[in-house]
């Protein structure tokens, strides 16, 4: 089994979008592991780093569209934390490009799948170049 992609999914947006993708018969990479959170703003840098420590291939944080966070500022906070995590990873010589924040709505299953396909492809391409 290839290394997992951890997707922290906010329960108001990405998590139902992922459900809808499954209901609609849209398929995506099997190595995705979704962790449900009440708001993208709940995610702390330590969660991201622990995932990389475990050896995952990428960490995604998925929250509501900008301007539509149920908790108004949660997705903005998450965005900042992801940037900070990216910086920390680069500082220790790891690939900062493997952590990223995305925004989507609960009725956007295609966007969910597109995001995961993009990430999977990027990882596959990078692996090939090694």
């Amino acid at each position: 089994m290839s290394k997992e992609i951890v997707a922290f999914c906010c329960q108001h947006s990405a998590y139902p979008a992922a459900d809808l993708a499954g209901k609609s018969g849209l398929r995506y990479a099997e190595n995705v592991r979704i962790i449900r959170v009440p708001c993208a703003g709940r995610i702390d840098v330590i969660h991201i780093l622990k995932a990389f420590e475990k050896g995952v291939a990428a960490v995604l944080v998925l929250g509501c569209e900008e301007g539509a966070c149920h908790h108004i500022t949660g997705n903005d906070r998450a965005k900042e934390r992801v940037k900070y995590a990216e910086m920390l990873l680069k500082e220790v010589g790891a690939d900062g490009g493997r952590v990223k924040m995305y925004n989507l709505s609960p009725n956007a299953p295609h966007k969910f799948v597109k995001i995961l396909d993009e990430v999977s492809k990027k990882i596959a391409d990078e692996e090939k170049q090694k």
């Binding site: 108001h12 569209e65 539509a68 989507l104 009725n107 956007a108 295609h110």
Partner: protein, 427 residues
Amino acid sequence: MELENKDVLVVGSGISGIASALELAKAGVKVYLIEKEAAVGGYAASFCCKATDSCAKCSVCAALDKLKEALIHPRITILTNSTVKRLSGELGNFHVEIIQQSRYVNMERCVACGLCAEVCPAQPKAIHASSEENMPFSYVLDEGLCLRFKGEKCDLCQSNCPTKAIEFELKPNRHELSVGAIIVATGFAVFDARLKGSLGYGRYPQVLTGLDLERVFRREGYLKLSTAGNEPKNIAFVQCVGSRDERHGYCSQVCCKYAIKLARLIQYQNPEAKVTIFYIDLQTSGKGFAQFYEECKGSIQFIRGIPVEVLQTSSGKLEVKFEDISQGKVRRDVFDLVVLSVGISPGKDVWDLARILGINLDDDGFFGVKSALCSNETNVDGIFLAGTCQGPKDIPDSIAHGVAAASKAIQALSGVDSRRRSFRWRW
């Protein structure tokens, strides 16, 4: 003042009905929510997300949230495939007869596993989920598509159902409800663009309505058209199709916004796409819209003048004939796709419902209000209106109107005399 905690019937499970039902339920009222289709949510729940790099504030996701909340609320009883047959009584004491057509699937036993649909031989499938999001959480058998109901011997779905949820013998059900108040939230009908024949809808596959476009985005995630070829590069939106004309003396309120938001979405996904919007008066009001519109001005071409004719060219594209008012001349421009921004018309069943409930229709064919001071009250005490069945509204306004209807219902049920009016208002 003690609230007379009588039950309320909400007719229609679109966003307005849902908003009414939810607020009433949260306030301790028992609500019967009836819906004539097999699926709940109405139009709003079927639209697409129009976010580009930020939220476009179309509110479809907000509508879905309310829908999900209503579906699990213990005080709301939902009856699908149901319509009002008869009404008697008065405020505080209505008796309603509801006819519930059969789903042929027992909702208490269906686990929505989908095995029935897998084995159904009909094309399209006669047994399917209530809706794309499967709300309510169950499958439904469409008598009109089912081979068995057409006389063939088929029971594949029933024999494959692991929970014995399918019952071909289920007959329509009659429910007698006693309620204190009724909220009518039956929504609208989309203007039939074929009535404007010269615009080519129904003749040319590359002429779509705004609703068609919403459905394409919802289903595919991008502008995928059934006609072969690449994504359309030159797109025209025609506003006021079925609004502000001889037959419709009103603005449908939603079309300019949805056209601009869809146009922006198209361009965001395909930066090479050119979008032109043909309009009479551009409706750009509303919270949060002004900034959005400012950002679009540079990238969307707005032309004042409604096209009179759409014809197909020899190369399969569409030629649109219009008067460019600011230039003062007639032009013919060519597009790959023409989207007709169809308006909100009164629902198809309004005459029947008006007759059964004893409520009036206004000049435009929507349900009429008692006075201009309150857009929820009808001529019948205890019967209220919520949402587009009273007149065109967008999703946030439909929610507000639905909650307002709930408010009026509660006030009426508390024995409050809301006939006292201490002000007059023209509009």
